[in-house]
């Protein structure tokens, strides 16, 4: 087995706290939930297993308590009781995207219900056609507004456009810290105003 310290990217002289931090950072990076819709799930699971083992080995060596890594992952497309497309769902779950798409494309337009749009969106999403996936998810939500499965998928697709998970966020300040001197002053003045409203005072001179 490879050196567990190398796997976690810490030196053997690192403290328990440092090992834990390194493990947490990596576990966040490889967390299977992020890869639930991705064909890279196997690789992410493998990495996750690797760091779990490394962390377990180190903690066992150091006799510093147990550890439970993240186990299990949800998948956006699951089995659903009243599904008219169980074959498509199991194809998507087993990663056979092209086969699933072929079946979906064979469905005549008049039989395309909300679930059809959701599943087609899932197929497109896995292929990387993110824009059309988004369109299909929102169509599914329009046709069946109460369905939590469809709205979760739409939410996820929309969230990734926010720039929080990669790319550029126009409203976040990337270059300076999130709090500059201007923010501090305006927050203080604001707090002062609030205090004054309630009869108190934070900054006596204004």
């Amino acid at each position: 087995m490879t050196d567990p310290y190398k796997v976690l990217g810490v030196s053997p002289s690192a403290t328990d706290e440092e090992v834990k931090d390194a493990y947490r950072a990596l576990a966040k990076k490889y967390h299977p939930d992020q890869y639930a819709d991705s064909p890279l799930k196997d690789l992410a699971d493998e990495k996750m297993k690797e760091i779990n083992e490394a962390y377990d080995t180190i903690t066992a060596q150091r006799k510093a308590g147990g550890n439970r890594g993240y186990t299990g992952a949800y998948n956006n497309v699951g089995r659903s009781g009243s599904s008219g497309f169980n074959d498509v769902r199991s194809l998507i779950m087993s990663g056979r995207i092209a086969d699933a798409e072929q079946i979906l494309n064979g469905v005549p337009p008049e039989r395309r219900n909300a679930e059809w749009y959701f599943l087609k969106g899932s197929v497109l999403y896995r292929r990387g056609w993110l824009e059309e996936a988004k369109d299909h998810f929102s169509r599914a939500c329009q046709m069946d507004p109460g369905n939590p499965e469809y709205s979760a998928a739409l939410n996820q697709a929309m969230n990734q456009g926010s720039g929080f998970y990669g790319g550029y966020r126009p409203n976040a300040n990337m270059n300076a810290g999130s709090c500059n001197s201007c923010d501090v002053c305006s927050s203080l003045i604001c707090a002062d105003c609030c205090c004054e409203c309630m009869g108190g005072d934070l900054i006596p001179c204004c």
Binding site: E131, K134, G161, Y168
Partner: protein
């Protein structure tokens, strides 16, 4: 290709910046050595990224050598040499992509505008032929991508369909670099979304110009801007934000695949490109409107 795939300079360590520069200069030398002096004009940040990725995926022996700049003998330059064929291969890709770009321009532009491409084409096609003999896989993928692009745009496809050829090109190129199968899946996915990001960035960058020239751009129909020639500031802002969201969604998927790669050597530089460099380009083009069109050959000093 486009020059969007570059590091964010102020977040690089000085050591990393020097390494990047030296690798960039070495790629320029490789172009000159294998494909002649004129081919050094095809040098780009994108192909440098390809070379660095190749060098980071397997152990390679690197050595720094001092010398003179290929283009300007008065300037001193560092060259980061390596064993193996990474630079040669990246140079071949650069030549092949430029050749296809020239052919594309020739088909699109009018007689006078394409005169330059027309004059350069025979020379470029000779070099491209040599590159294709040395790297048949690269040549085949590049040709496939250009044909796919032409078909998708002729069919008036949507954003996703138009981005597919570039995305698939980088997916195939990166996958080929893998040493084991599972790694190949991550590399392919990473390449797919990087290529998609590059295509979308270019389309977003050209949107205003394409509207004016009545040229094809997948974002025009996506954002419902058909028939418009100029955009009001509000419309422009809304369009830029919509493009930014599409790019962010692509970047999010790219980061997931990138995190799974085992990178040695230039890993931190590549990480800078993916996590900081690409968002910075989105900021510059969509929010600051720094539209310095890629007229001149970029230098590493131009990195912002």
């Amino acid at each position: 290709m486009f020059g969007y795939v570059r590091p964010f300079k102020s977040e690089l360590l000085v050591r990393q910046y020097d390494q990047y520069k030296a690798a960039y200069c070495q790629l320029c030398r490789a172009l000159w050595k294998h494909y002649g002096r004129l081919s050094t004009f095809t040098l780009s940040y994108d192909c440098t990224f390809y070379a660095l990725l190749m060098l980071s995926l397997r152990e390679s022996k690197l050595s720094l050598r001092r010398g003179r700049c290929v283009m300007n003998p008065l300037k001193r330059c560092d060259f980061l040499e390596s064993d193996g064929e990474a630079y040669h291969k990246a140079a071949a890709l650069s030549v092949l992509l430029t050749y296809h770009k020239l052919r594309d321009d020739l088909a699109d532009d009018g007689f006078w505008k394409s005169l330059g491409s027309r004059l350069l084409l025979p020379l470029a096609s000779r070099k491209a032929k040599r590159a294709a003999e040395e790297y048949p896989f690269l040549a085949q993928e590049a040709r496939k991508a250009m044909e796919g692009q032409r078909e998708a745009e002729a069919a008036g496809g949507g954003v996703d369909a138009c981005a597919e050829p570039t995305a698939a090109l980088l997916g195939a190129l990166f996958k080929e670099l893998a040493c084991r199968e599972l790694e190949g899946a991550a590399l392919e996915r990473f390449g797919y979304f990087l290529g998609r990001w590059v295509y979308l960035m270019d389309a977003a960058d050209d949107l205003a110009e394409d509207l004016k020239n009545h040229a094809f751009n997948p974002f025009i129909s996506r954002l419902g801007l058909e028939g418009k020639e100029t955009l009001s500031p509000q419309e422009r802002k809304a369009a830029d934000e919509a493009c930014n969201q599409a790019l962010n969604a692509t970047a999010a998927q790219m980061v997931l695949a990138f995190n799974l790669l085992d990178l040695q050597g230039f890993g931190p530089i590549l990480e800078n490109v993916v996590l900081k460099g690409l968002p910075e380009i989105q900021r510059e083009i969509l929010f600051l409107h720094v539209r310095e069109k890629r007229r001149k050959r970029p230098e590493p000093q131009d990195l912002r």
